[in-house]
Every structure is written in C-alpha cells, then in structure tokens.
C-alpha cells in the first residue's frame, strides 16, 4: 500500500493526511463513522430512499459501530504499548494494515449514503413540502425559508437585480470620477507652471481633499437621505410638478448617485495610495529627461500606480454590493428593500434575512472570485474578501 502512495505527487495537507498517513485510517475514519451514526439516528425525511430498506440501514449502522469499537481497541493498544505499538499491535501487520485501509473506504461510502439520504433528501423534502404548502410552515425553519424563497422569488429577484446594477454601474462610474479626482489630488506646484496653472492646481487639490474628507466622514445612509431629497427639491424648483419629478428622479437614480459619489471618494484614496506607492525615483528619472509633470505622470508613474491600486479598487465592488443595502432608506428597491418587504408580509425577520444574507454572500463571493481572476490577469495579488469601506488605506495621512 505504502509504495502505491509514496509514488504519488505532493498533495495538500488534508489529502496527504487521508491518503498517506496511516494514523488517519483508524482515528480519522472513526470521526467519519461517528458523523454517519449521528446522521443515521436523525429522523428520516419524507423523500428518504432508505426507508423501505430498514435492514440494510441497520447493517450499515452496526458496521459503523464496529469500526468505532475497532478504533477503540487500536487506541487501547497504543496506550498500552506506546513506542512498541508497531511490534505488538495486530493492526500494524502489513496484511491487516491493508484490510483496515479498505475498511476505511467502506466507512466513507456508508457515511456518504447517510449524507445523501438524510441531508440531501431532507432538503429536497423540505422544498417539496414548502411548495405544496398553502401557508408558510411555522414550525420548520427550512420549510419556512423555502416557502418564502418560492413565493417571493420575484421580489427577491427584483431586489437582487437592482443591487447588482447599483454595485456594478456605481463602481464603474465612480472609478472614472475617482481617476479624475485622484489626478486633482496629487497635483503639485511645479517650477515650470505659470501663475494660472498654480492657481488651478491648488484649487483642484483642495477640492479633492475637501471632497474626500466630507464624503468619507459621513455615513452613506445620511448621504442618500441628503442627495435624494435635495435633488428632488432642486428639480421642483425648476417648476416641475411632483409627479413629473417622480417620473425622472426615482429612488434608483438617487441611490445610484449616492453610491457613485461615495465610492468616488474611497476609490480616489486608493488610487492616490497606489500612485504614491510608486518609487519617487520614477518621477525624477522621467523629469530629468525633460518630460513635463503631466507626461511623466501619464506615461511612467500612473501605469505603475494603477497596478498597486487594482486590489483596492476591485474590493470597492464587493464593498458596494454590501453597502448599497443602506440605500433602502430612500426607497431604492434593492435586495435589502426586498428583504424588508418580505419581512412585512410574514411578520418574520429571521427567515427572509437568512435568505438575503445567503444571496449577498453568493454575490460577494462571485464578485471577489471574478475580481481575483481580473487581478491575476494584471499580475497583482488580490485582496482577501471581507474588508469594508472603513479599510485602512495605503499611504493615508
């Protein structure tokens, strides 16, 4: 046996434990057997395929029990003989060793059958029952959730689509605005500038600084509650009626604008951090050849800085998926708003929220997986999932 596995290529920590390490065979597999026993003692779901074969199930159960007993005996040998275990215990003999390993495969197979019968079929049963029910099942969490998922699927779908739109369009638009603002932010008075350029640069730089301070220093929820009604008021001021304003200035646009303005500030800081992380020698090298500040920035420094910034920038998409949830305060019909709506229907907060949480988690995991591929395309390391807009930024003052 050992010769077969020793020729195998290098494996992961878990795989090598399972396949190469003999200690796994008795101890590790007894944990698996225990899980199988637990599952077998669960009540059978409606769709259980083992139900008609009670004897088979019983035999399988006792095989698992036997395995635990065998492991206990092996453990007793180990405790008694310690270093002399290999010489004393029958389990260490070549033939027995191999038989035990084959036995471990059987334990795995039995546990897998129980997982299929109890867990997979359990979920299927709950789903079938939930669909057949005329009212939300009150006493079963899973059935209740499945009932909600099925009956309010269009509500969740509408919210999901809006959330994706807000995050994707918001992040993309914010990226371009952030580029613009980051260029303003990093402007430095250069010797070659005339007085007009000096004035323009200092105004641009102060604007970017002030913008970043205000936006990053206030909650996005409040920003939404200011931006939406403020522009509503502005439009009304032009003589439009409330109905006309409502037709063009919807909570969706209010939410999108909020996300863009908010994300711009964070992305600007990420870009600035990336640009400032470029060795100042790159700028000096370019300037020493006679390139202007702008030429040096666009041709040499920025192409390198954006690479540093890619992980932070792409993280902003993940942050926006989550943070767009606060926009429901102005009535933007995103996933959070859908969640609130469904909560109102059933007077139950837990079940719809678990569903929404699962959807958000799927979204952010997919987004960070895609962004990771994107980042590797540019030869940079992706950031781990989970930071929020409160992240500490590279090069922040």
């Amino acid at each position: 046996m050992s010769t077969v596995f020793s020729s195998a290529p290098a494996r992961g920590r878990f795989a090598s434990f399972v396949l190469n390490d003999h200690r796994y065979v008795l101890l590790g597999t007894s944990a698996v057997a225990f899980i199988g026993m637990m599952l077998s003692s669960m009540s059978r779901p409606a769709l259980s395929f083992l139900a008609p074969y009670y004897t088979v199930e019983l035999v399988m159960y006792y095989v698992l029990v036997a395995w635990l007993v065998l492991s206990a005996i092996a453990l007793a040998f180990k405790v008694m003989y310690r270093e002399r275990y290999a010489a004393k215990a029958p389990f260490a003999r070549a033939g027995v060793k191999q038989a035990v390993r084959y036995g471990s495969y059987i334990v795995w197979a039995i546990t897998a059958v129980f997982i299929l019968d109890r867990l997979v079929m359990g979920i299927a049963s709950a789903w079938t029952a939930a669909l057949a029910a005329t009212a939300r099942p009150q006493d079963d969490l899973l059935q209740g959730m499945f009932y909600i998922v099925w009956h309010d699927r269009y509500t969740f779908l509408a919210g999901l689509i809006t959330t994706i739109e807000l995050a994707v369009f918001g992040t993309i638009a914010a990226f371009f605005l952030a580029l613009l603002l980051a260029f303003c932010r990093i402007q430095k008075i250069d010797r070659a500038d005339n007085d007009f350029m000096r004035a323009v640069k200092s105004v641009a730089c102060s604007f970017a600084k002030g913008y970043s301070t205000v936006i990053r220093g206030t909650p996005m929820m409040i920003q939404a509650m200011i931006i939406y009604p403020a522009i509503f008021g502005l439009l009304k001021g032009t003589g439009m009626s409330t109905t006309e304003v409502n037709a063009v200035w919807t909570p969706f646009w209010g939410g999108l604008l909020t996300i863009i303005l908010n994300s711009t500030a964070y992305m600007m800081e990420v870009l600035r951090g990336g640009i400032e992380a470029v060795d100042p020698g790159q700028m000096e090298g370019a300037r020493s050849l006679g390139l202007s500040q702008w030429q040096a920035m666009t041709r040499v420094v920025f192409p390198q800085g954006i690479k540093h910034a890619i992980p932070g920038l792409s993280n902003e998409l993940v942050v926006n998926i989550k943070d767009s949830s606060v926009l429901s305060v102005i009535g933007t019909f995103d996933l959070m708003f859908a969640n609130t709506t469904v909560t109102g229907i059933y007077y139950n907060q837990l079940q719809p929220s678990l569903i929404s949480a699962a959807i958000y988690l799927c979204l952010t995991m997919i987004a960070s997986w895609l962004l990771g591929k994107f980042a590797r395309h540019f030869d940079v390391q992706p950031e781990p999932l989970g930071s929020t807009s409160d992240q500490t930024l590279v090069g922040e003052e």
């Binding site: 060795d279 020698g281 790159q282 000096e284 090298g285 020493s288 050849l289 390139l291 202007s292």
Partner: protein
Amino acid sequence: MAELIDNAADTQAASVAEQEANSKEPMIRIEGLHKSFGDHEVLRGIDLSVMPGQVVTIIGSSGSGKSTLLRCLNLLETPDAGHVWFHGKDLVAERVGVNQLREKIGMVFQSFNLFNNMNVLDNCTLAPVTLKKMGKDEAERVAMEHLEEVGLTEFAKADVRRLSGGQKQRVAIARALCMRPDLMLFDEPTSALDPEIVGEVLEVMHQLARDGMTMVVVTHEMTFAREVSDEVVFMDKGIIAEQGSPEQLFSNPQHPRTREFLARYLKDE
C-alpha cells in the same frame, strides 16, 4: 564592452565642445549657491565652473551636499539663493523652461530610476519620441546606437526589472545619451552596485569622457576620479573645501579635511 564604436555624431559633438572650449566660456557656472532643507543648511555658498568637455568629479563624505549640488544643476532641487548659468542663461533668477533645460542635461541616478513599466528600448525612446517629435523608427535607431555603446543591444527587448544592477545603470546612461545632452550629471552611479560590476559602468563613463562629453560626477570611486577627471572638487559641510587637478588634490592635499578624507579612502583601496 570590448568594442566601442566611434560614431560620427559623437565626433561631431566632441568638435562642438572643442570649439566652445576654445572660446573659454564655461558651460555651467555656479555662483554663491545656497540650499536648505528646513533648518538644515546643505549648501553654503558654492562657486564652480565647468568648461565644455571637462570632467569634474565631486568627492566628499556623506551629507557634505554633493548630491544636492548636482541636483541643483538640473533644478531637481530649487536653490534658495545664488546663480547657476547654463550656456550663459541664469536658471535660478529667470523662470526658465525647466523641461527644455533638462533635455540638454542628462542625469544618471544612484538607483537607476529606469521605468519599470517599459522594456529597455522603450526606456530609451520615450523621451526622444515625446519631446523631440522624433519618429519611432528614428528614435529606436538612435537608441540602438547608444545601447551598442554600452554593450547591451541584445537586451533591447528585455524587461528592465530583470537586468543586473550594472546593466541597469548602463541602460540609464544610454537613455540619457539618447537625448543628445550637452552635459551629463552622474549622482553616485556605482554606489548601489556590487563591487565586481562597478567596473562595467566605470568603463562606459570612461569612454564617454574620452569622447569629449562634459560630465559632473559625484562619486566615491577615487581611482576613477584620479584617472578620468580634469578637476576634482572636495566638498565638506556644504562648501567646497578644496579643488584642483587630480594630481594636485590626491598627491598634495592642502586642506586638513581633505587629507583626513583621502587617508581614510586610500587606505581602504
């Protein structure tokens, strides 16, 4: 490195430099230069002239202001007071076109400062194409000539980050030469290099000096200073403590600080 071609352009540049040399008009003249960083006064009144075709080496211990002086010459640092005349034009007093000025003054840094987002050839052609409105083909031809001078033609398409320190510095020299500068500034070009590859860079600089390039070199390579320079300047605490021909300064230093400094360095060698 074995064969350095003697191309027509350099011969021409040399003859122009010779003409200027005959007219006895210094290419660069510094007068009463002061520079402080905060409270720390780095340069305390520097006077120095560099004639066309001349190689001036600046030596001195760390913190004596050598690099700052060099960086004031192409205005990477703005002097606080004093004058720098380049081709008879005062760089400090007038608001001169800094960028046009720097096209005429090449600079080589201790840390190379090659553009990491480009290959060797693009490093060399970026400035000529952008600033001299030179066609890409023409710029690449010129760049290949200079890469040949420094012996790196086979690395033209290489990623600069993969080069050795010595190779990087030779690319940096070729890049500066591509702008056909009148003056070359070297800011400790070999200080970041392993001792065994210092030679390849010094060899290129040696050849450049032989071709008549006007050079101001800040260095700790005393052998190079002695062999190549026309004039050696010893700086101490922001002033020029002593200056003269290499023979004079190395064999018969007058200032006690110079003697102390040289004793320390020559013992090491």
